[in-house]
Symmetry: C2
Subunit: 214 residues, 2 copies
């Protein structure tokens, strides 16, 4: 935990969607994506009962720990605590980061920011990074807010020094522009979970992030 949050969070993030992973299974897709360069994995399950959720989280943690890839659990502090996750990511409607911090003093805590006017309150919370969400329109998240756009991302960048993880509608075609707009990291769901070859897709995403940034 000595490494600062910004360094641990830089690069390409995979946010899971087990339905999109299909028959290949979540673990196989994650493993391939990590081979291709994914640096952080966020486990998101919106319908799973608690025990299978914990079992899945533990299996992922066992896969990622030896690879040095942090596992972040979406929304559920209980699952994160039970599997020994490296962090929790919450939305505006989830448990407050303040409540999380008490039980995860060292963990990475991420908070989704969907509108600029959420930033002031967020800056007073014990948060390690923001998910800027969604940057572009996305079909993956049914309840997603209106897109921030690159303009919104730049505005966030101008107003906070905390790491920004951009998510929503990002692929190899626009990942460079997103990094150029000030993101510290890019998170994708379908661009990896629905990719025929997640390892190759991760490699191309990383290249896109780095090329345009230089």
């Amino acid at each position: 935990m000595a490494e600062p949050a910004a360094a641990r969070l830089a690069g390409l993030h995979l946010v899971t969607d087990s339905t999109l992973c299909g028959e290949r299974g979540l673990l196989a897709v994650v493993e391939a994506a990590v081979r291709g360069g994914v640096r952080v994995v966020q486990l998101r399950e919106k319908t799973l009962a608690t025990r299978p959720f914990v079992e899945r989280a533990r299996a992922l943690k066992a896969l990622l720990q030896p690879l040095g890839v942090p596992l972040i659990v979406n929304d559920r502090l209980d699952v994160a605590l039970a599997c020994g996750a490296d962090g929790v990511h919450v939305g505006q409607e989830d448990l407050s980061p303040k409540d999380m911090r008490r039980w995860m003093p060292q963990g990475l805590i991420g908070l989704s920011i969907e509108r600029l006017d959420q930033l002031d309150a967020a800056e007073r919370l014990p948060v390690d990074y923001y998910g800027a969400s969604p940057v572009f329109a996305t079909a993956t998240k049914a309840d997603a807010a209106p897109a921030l756009g690159l303009e919104g991302l730049r505005a966030l960048r101008a107003r906070t020094t905390r790491p920004l993880v951009a998510i929503g509608g990002i692929g190899a075609h626009n990942a460079g522009a997103v990094m150029a707009a000030g993101a510290d990291a890019v998170a994708v769901v379908s661009a990896l979970c629905a990719a025929p070859d997640p390892e190759d897709a991760a490699r191309r995403l990383r290249a896109a992030m780095e090329t345009t940034r230089a």
Copy 2:
């Protein structure tokens, strides 16, 4: 926390169902039921998002704390930790009591037992009480297991010294028989949440539990 678990758990329990409480609201129903003699409240929410769930749990805790009535949260350790609940109740598909205990060293941990053959494994877990569930057929819980019956309850009683909280299809007409079969407590959902007068219904349930037991 000095009081032993059995003493803290004895009596009438209310397991909440906010839909059944209707327009009166959950808090008003709980308050009336506690006036009528409810000794333990379990908050059960199966569809609420995390933040409103925590808000509801905190409001209940603020109501119950001064009355000396323990609040137990169904399934969600994260919500229980955030609201300072007195315990957590889990089913066979929820987080394991072993994982719970680590984060709630002093809390009441309850586990639902639906079949006799679940008891052996349960006895090795750090559990304070069992929910014997369901004793009778019930319409309240969509995924309820086949009824244990008074026979099943007696069999559980013969095989464990841990407190048994009987739940499922219990009302004033059969609460006495349930206590006579060896339950330490009776938990109800609809018999209180759907009662026109929850205070009076609680009083009649308590009387039924005590009369037939004596």
